[in-house]
């Protein structure tokens, strides 16, 4: 009994030190997270219960901003628009990126060049891409309408970004042009991890290219697809710069999304309190969507190979 004490003390001390060390190592990250995320978020929550124009003292109004948000038709419409945008980008970014990854996964100079070209829009900033495509879509001298006019289809030339029926589609196309290459790279990396023997076995079983894609490739890409979809959905909610440069929510709110509406309320109309309430709502919505999606896809699709 007496011999144990000298041994137990160092062990207990080292456990204590380990415990303290954990917190010491985490502390810098925690401080940064607190300073740049938690405190501003707390500030936004506080301001969301006030009316404040940016000057003077905020006035406490309780839940008024939240009641207003749920009756604000443009705010509600912005969630519908962003939902359509996300559905669109899932198709033109994720699905198209997957198709391109499969088509361009072969070795060879030509395929390397095509992969590089397809990925190249990623190096542009969103603002640059938005401005570039604004010129492409320009009604008067834009490339798209010039092509349509030059091939004898002048009636198809449209004011793409001024027409509520076309504006959101036009933005989705640009988003796809910009990001499909990114998802292609993600899927390419995952494709290369699939053992060739699985395809050889499928070939011996008489499977054609389509069957191999459906029954071998797709199941083994499920984990990657989960990440890609999550990135696309959360990235979609955070979209702003492309909309800001191309349409700024117009025409007639046809491309109004939560972020553009928040910026308009907070900085153009100086409704900081209402803008903060919209920000809190958006944070909750994005958090919930991400959580539900992660729970729904958790481990279910894990395939080991």
């Amino acid at each position: 009994m007496t011999r144990r004490r000298p041994v137990a003390r160092p062990i207990a001390r080292s456990v204590r030190i380990e415990r303290i060390q954990k917190y010491v190592f985490v502390l810098p990250a925690l401080l940064l997270f607190g300073a740049f995320v938690l405190i501003p978020l707390g500030g936004a929550v506080y301001y969301s219960f006030t009316t404040w124009g940016g000057l003077g003292t905020p006035e406490w109004v309780g839940l008024r901003n939240y009641r207003r948000a749920f009756g604000d038709s443009i705010h509600l419409r912005s969630y519908l628009n962003i939902s359509w945008y996300i559905v669109g980008t899932l198709l033109v970014e994720v699905a198209f990126g997957l198709v391109m990854a499969v088509l361009l996964s072969k070795a060879g100079r030509l395929f390397e060049l095509l992969r590089g070209l397809f990925f190249s829009p990623m190096v542009l900033s969103m603002v640059a891409a938005g401005l570039l495509w604004t010129y492409v879509y320009d009604y008067r001298r834009g490339l798209l309408n010039e092509v349509l006019r030059s091939v004898g289809l002048p009636d198809l030339a449209q004011p793409w970004l001024s027409d509520p029926n076309w504006a959101l589609i036009a933005v989705i196309v640009v988003s796809g042009w910009k990001y499909a290459g990114f998802y292609m790279i993600i899927f390419l990396a995952a494709l290369r991890r699939i053992p060739v023997s699985l395809y050889e076995a499928a070939t011996l079983d008489g499977a054609g290219p389509l069957q191999k894609f459906v029954h071998v490739t797709l199941p083994l890409l499920r984990e990657t697809s989960v990440v890609a979809v999550l990135l696309c959905v959360t990235g979609g909610f955070a979209a702003f710069d492309l909309f800001f440069t191309m349409t700024n929510g117009g025409p007639f709110n046809a491309t109004e999304i939560p972020t553009t509406w928040i910026v308009k309320q907070a900085f153009e109309r100086h409704n900081m309190g209402y803008g903060a309430a919209l920000t809190v709502i958006m944070t909750i919505v994005v958090g919930l969507v991400s959580l539900v999606y992660l729970l729904a896809t958790r481990r279910r699709h894990a395939v080991e190979y």
Partner: protein, 424 residues
């Protein structure tokens, strides 16, 4: 030895220079001036006035803080005023923002200062009113430095001559003119309304002409709804514009400056925008481009002043918390002196100082606008400066819906009232 002496001399000279610099800066009082003049002829004129002021007043130093106009309007000025070191003098748009700055205690009451030595009497009488936006109640909070007409109808003289058109006097004549242009394959009005204010300003003027200023004011201060017969009558004018296909097809998505460029390139016969078209024409219009302007035509049966113009005063406010109020006012007196205002007018700004415009050597377009201004009995404030910007923004969008053919007058006015409901 020589090296040591040389070192001593250099050290002594440096010390003397530093001492003189310290002495100079200690003797000078700095007055910070925040504004939106980032370039153009008026900035050149302003800089020249500041330089001349420095020569006359070596004890005062004007420190300019220019910012891009949109940034200044959205976040720039608010951030500066909230900071620990707010500017001593700042640019402001007359109207609701002056009211805000006065009510929150940021802007100094200038009434007594302007009464000293008859300084206030050197300005045009129109400078001092709540309508102009310099006053709150009977107190003055802004010294105007320019009047801006925010919408007149600029037109392409060559296109008008080609189609045998002349300036319309009435709204009916105006609609006929638009039909003629459309039937001739022209775009009658080219405008970029992506941000709603270009058409919104004009819509505000048309509405004030139809409903009269009292009803206009009561609706914009939310004392009355917009859905009422007078406003329906006003919005029918926008329906008429949509019916004659007055606007370019990309009205809703085109930017304001892009539409001005389109006008200069002959892609539309009429461009409703403010007095700032003149300096832009000097910079970007092709050689030989001929243009002129007319006011919004008389709207038959309207309850408002048929000759009114839409515009506002812009100017400087002085911080109520400034330690250098006297020096700031010394500079503003100097800036608004007759000679400097003549130079200011020659740089393209409409001077509010009595006689400055008449004495200045200004071009025909500025002269025409000056006459328009002096002939007007009433100045309608643009909704986005005369009233809270949120109310104006909703009104602008409602007007755009009708002019763009998206909604009827009744639908748009109902929509405006629904949007304004939480603010009432």
């Amino acid at each position: 030895m020589l090296r040591t002496m040389s070192r001593s001399i250099r050290a002594g000279a440096l010390a003397a220079a530093a001492a003189s610099l310290i002495g100079l800066s200690a003797a000078q009082t700095e007055v910070t001036v925040a504004h939106t003049m980032t370039g153009g002829a008026h900035r050149v004129a302003f800089d020249a006035i500041v330089d001349a002021f420095h020569e006359e007043h070596p004890d005062i130093r004007i420190v300019q803080n220019p910012q891009d106009m949109e940034i200044y309007q959205d976040t720039g000025l608010i951030s500066m005023l909230q900071s620990n070191d707010p500017p001593d003098v700042w640019f402001q748009w007359g109207g609701d923002l002056v009211r805000r700055d006065a009510e929150l205690g940021f802007a100094l009451d200038l009434t007594d200062h302007l009464a000293e030595g008859g300084w206030g009497d050197t300005f045009l009488d129109a400078s001092w009113s709540e309508g102009t936006g310099t006053m709150v109640g009977d107190r003055i909070y802004m010294i105007p430095y320019a009047f801006d007409v925010t919408t007149v109808l600029w037109y392409n003289v060559d296109l008008f001559e080609e189609h045998g058109l002349s300036e319309p006097e009435t709204w009916t004549e105006f609609l006929d003119l638009l039909r003629t242009l459309r039937e001739a394959g022209e775009t009658p009005i080219v405008l970029g309304n992506q941000q709603f204010w270009p058409l919104g300003n004009w819509a505000g003027h048309i509405t004030a002409r139809v409903v009269g200023m009292d009803v206009f004011d009561r609706a914009f201060t939310l004392e009355e709804p917009f859905s009422q017969p007078a406003f329906e009558e006003a919005f029918r004018r926008f329906e008429e514009l949509a019916e004659v296909q007055a606007f370019n097809r990309d009205l809703a998505g085109l930017g304001a400056s892009e539409s001005m460029t389109a006008f200069f390139q002959g892609e539309g016969a009429i461009h409703p925008i403010g007095s700032w078209l003149i300096p832009n024409a000097l910079e970007t219009a092709p050689d030989g481009f001929r243009y002129s302007a007319f006011n919004t035509p008389v709207i038959e049966g309207g309850a408002g002043d048929p000759q009114s113009i839409i515009g506002l005063a812009t100017g400087f406010e002085v911080s109520a918390h400034s330690d250098v109020v006297d020096e700031a006012l010394t500079f503003l007196r100097y800036f608004t002196s007759f000679d400097n205002q003549v130079a200011w007018a020659e740089a393209g700004r409409f001077s509010p100082v009595e006689g400055a415009m008449a004495a200045a050597d200004i071009d025909e377009h500025n002269q025409a606008l000056a006459e328009l201004f002096l002939d007007a009995n009433e100045m309608v404030p643009p909704p986005d400066t005369g009233y809270p910007v949120e109310i104006a923004g909703i009104f602008y969008q409602g007007a755009a819906m009708v002019a763009g053919g998206m909604n009827s007058a009744t639908e748009a006015l109902d929509w405006i009232d629904r949007q304004l409901e939480p603010l009432r």
